[in-house]
Symmetry: C2
Subunit: 547 residues, 2 copies
């Protein structure tokens, strides 16, 4: 009996932005909420993305009853294929989210494809193991988003999912206030809330603001209009379609993910577009400029995206030209500022007029600001509060907001990934800390790159590498040929030649000394010499062959 408590384990997204995953466990039953990916920081060299650490799930494989998704953004669904390579667990999601998941499954080579997919409508309740899960609609920047009311034997936990309170959302579907109040009447043991914008004062503006800004852009542009955004920002697609329709422009979606997502959203009724308005990019390029709107990816300045290629003039199908208007209609993810601004500057250089968040409200956040968060707290009136989806500084700030609404500090758990939270007899306690690793995906490798490789790559990236190869006669340790020295990324060849010739002399001197560990000794001597001459510390690799 003593083990019968509710365990909540944040696996990803607490103390970081992305790879969201939360585990609920009670009496041998586990349900998982979300399975997203995270984009790497600039110092995570060569990493494609980071996925949640599945170790706890591996250790408790038999208990898992379901994987539930709140909405279709990459930071919530993006790691589903990696999950399904190891686990075969029923999936629950609303129609659009499930549609986007199916697109992913279609691309998965090694994932379990026979997994049970349960499409759930917002507003309905599903019983899974010892949990009863209410799916309630919330407004976010993608349609069909939900939060979850998770009824457990210890009480009701509300997990918000990503949300803001938008009174004029693109799809006219407001947040399910009724359900939130119903939860409050049932009594909410704990609220787990989105804290992404907890440092932003006030309310997050409605998507309507973006609609108006886009209409202004469309009313002023004479040439083509190219709107860049995320492929998963389905609401934004609808707004661009609406503006294009109003100003009598056809629209072409460009980029595989953009085209695929538009297709699935349209098929499922979440993107409304007249058949004759939607054209291919080839058709668009044959229309008069003032009849064309193009929607593509690349709002983060990603070099291989459509917009990235356009900014450098390397897009296969078309080029930016004088008179084009380019709109970057999405948030700049922290860390991408340089890439985004550099893309904007390059687009200006090519003659485009560029509209971006800093100079016009062509983007608003999908996450609630300080007042949104306070409203959710008042609507649900939880006993305990757990800020989620944010860096530690954002969780801390959300805690301050909760205190302002009257929740005592001891009822707030500001915790990061791995800190188990337990609920028993209506009381919250801190449990064990489960070890959570950064699981790096690099190419087809998952988790085979760790801190050591990151450090090596950082070293290599800073000052390049110098390679030395020495061949000795096994019989007497004498040198068979001149040591081979080559460098990469260290200095330009012209400069290096003189320096490496001097370096060769220090190597020969070291060999003559005939030390015990020749490789180590050459590395040390050479490293000292190079630092004195250049104040740089290239990686030095020495191989000695005795033959």
């Amino acid at each position: 009996m003593k083990n019968k408590s509710l365990k909540i384990i944040p696996v990803g997204g607490l103390g970081e932005v992305g790879r969201n995953m939360m585990i609920y466990e009670y009496d041998g039953d586990i349900i998982i909420v979300d399975c997203g990916l995270m984009f790497p920081n600039n110092d995570m060299l060569g990493v494609d993305y980071i996925i949640p650490d599945f170790q706890y799930l591996r250790n408790n494989r038999d208990k898992i009853r379901a994987l539930i998704f709140t909405h279709g953004h990459e930071d919530h669904i993006g790691a589903v294929n990696y999950f399904l390579e190891e686990f075969n667990v029923p999936i629950y999601a609303t129609p659009l989210t499930m549609g986007l998941i199916k697109v992913k499954l279609g691309k998965a080579s090694s994932a379990n494809r026979d997994v049970a997919l349960h499409t759930v409508q917002a507003g309905s309740q599903v019983k899974i193991g010892k949990f009863k899960v209410d799916f309630f609609h919330v407004c976010h920047s993608i349609p069909d988003s939900v939060g979850l009311g998770i009824e457990t034997p210890e009480g009701l936990i509300v997990q918000s999912g990503d949300y803001k309170f938008d009174h004029t959302p693109v799809d006219n579907w407001p947040t399910d206030y009724g359900k939130l109040v119903e939860f409050s009447k049932r009594g909410v043991l704990a609220l787990i809330s989105d804290s992404t914008n907890s440092t932003r004062p006030g309310w997050t503006p409605s998507e309507q603001v973006v609609g108006e800004a886009l209409e202004k852009v469309f009313s002023q542009a004479d040439g083509r209009i190219i709107v860049a955004s995320f492929a998963s920002l389905i609401s934004r697609m609808q707004q661009v379609v609406n503006a294009a329709k109003k100003f009598n422009r056809k629209i072409a979606f460009v980029g595989t993910s953009m085209v695929e997502n538009a297709k699935i959203a349209q098929k499922m009724g979440f993107l409304s577009i007249d058949e004759d308005q939607k054209i291919s990019i080839e058709e668009a390029l044959h229309l008069p400029d003032e009849k064309v709107a193009i929607m593509c990816t690349g709002s983060q300045g990603e070099p291989t995206s459509i917009l990235g290629r356009l900014s450098r003039g390397t897009q296969r199908q078309f080029d930016i030209k004088e008179g084009d208007t380019v709109v970057l209609s999405s948030k700049t993810i922290p860390g991408n500022e340089e890439a985004v601004f550099s893309t904007i500057n390059d687009l200006f250089r090519r003659g485009a007029n560029v509209i971006y968040e800093e100079i016009a409200p062509v983007h608003v956040s999908g996450h609630g600001g300080q007042e949104d968060i306070k409203l959710l707290l008042h609507l649900t009136r939880p006993k305990y509060f757990i800020p989620a989806y944010g860096e530690l500084r954002q969780l801390k700030q959300a805690a301050i907001l909760a205190m302002q609404t009257g929740i005592p500090e001891r009822h707030i758990a500001v915790v990061e990934d791995g800190q188990v939270i337990t609920f028993k007899n209506n009381k919250m306690r801190m449990g064990d800390i489960e070890p959570i690793s950064m699981v790096f995906v690099d190419g087809s490798g998952v988790g085979d790159i760790g801190p050591a490789e990151m450090r090596d790559r950082e070293m290599l990236s800073k000052d390049g590498i110098i390679l030395v190869h020495v061949i000795l006669r096994k019989s007497d340790g004498s040198l068979i040929a001149d040591p081979e020295i080559v460098s990469r990324g260290f200095t330009s060849t012209k400069e290096a030649d003189g320096l490496l010739n001097q370096a060769r002399k220090t190597i020969l001197t070291t060999i003559k000394r005939n030390p015990d560990n020749l490789e180590k000794d050459i590395t040390k001597t050479l490293s000292g010499f190079i630092y004195r001459e250049t104040r740089r510390r290239p990686t030095i690799m020495v191989t000695v062959s005795s033959i």
Copy 2:
């Protein structure tokens, strides 16, 4: 006679933020304004900073009459030592700026130290060659800043320097409005204006806002207060000193540059601090926490700075402890967001309360916003306008502001570094384009690293390196020993072992084929094999020794 026109050559700071330098040339006389450094983007791997390209100056060495500085920030004075290694030219600067330059000269080993240093008071005029230069006071985030009115035989050019219109500056010294109006009466041919904040609506707030925010922090903190900022933000130092004094705290400056700059500013009367208020860090650590304020560097999250070390617990003299309040009182330079936020999160993890720009106005910009820029335009009423100090997108936006104040588009030159602008008979024309390179400083090397090394470093940083060494018998091309294969930053050793063993087989097969270019063939085969197996493209270096 036909050559007698005014040439203005932007060498740095137009189309980029930093390494500011402008050349004015008329009839064999050149004066240079500023000589700053720029901090590298995240994709400039291993670069310490970037300095202006001196090539045009080398080609016109005999014409240079003066190097004039507008203020003492690194992006305006930071490359002076590099300049003085090649040129011996009289320097003109206001007292504080000259003081900070002298600190730099004191550290220069190879720079010309016998250079003539002319200290000039704001408000005075200096005749240099065919130019008459008026130094006029402007408000910025460092005292003793000036803009320049440069009277040339073709007319008066006003270069603003960095500025904002602050009616309540820390030193009570407002912008010299009188001089600006006087310029306007004399007739301004062209205004060259700071555009850094051209995308920010409204006025930039007064430094007074920061003073009030700091006082609020000081009034609420029980423990130690640690304020991080730039070492050159002398005005901010004064504000922290004032707040500390008001709340009865002693102050310790920590970090070489911070200590040096405080000393010189104090000596020259630009930092007012009671002798008994200033203590050493050692003394501070023996005082009760509530009596201590510490000011240090590291507001950009630099790993080797005081704050960077404190956030990781590796500062030599003291550690962050529960109850400390840390204030980041400076702007986050674009591109540093990740490092700054990660430092903030780490400080929270160590128990500090952290106050930063996003949650309290503990920093305001030193650069004028849209209304400041428009006011300068109206005060000076120039015929032509050249936006400066900014990325292209910022220059473009400044041009829009100028048009809003009535300057016709054809009188505005939105140009980037290297575009020569000529003035003759009261008319502006675009001249030649001087080639301008990024001059990277890496360790003690200046300019020996270029795009090729950057590309190599980027390749190395993404997927690491694999080295192969093959020793063949010269006589018959047969293999003497097993090929040596080592990797760095490619994958963890455990994973690599199996893979590299397979790789060895592909290498042996290639050697058996006995191709013409063995090194190239092994590289190609191995690269293909590795990509198929891992979807990664490590740098591959093959050396073949025939002995």
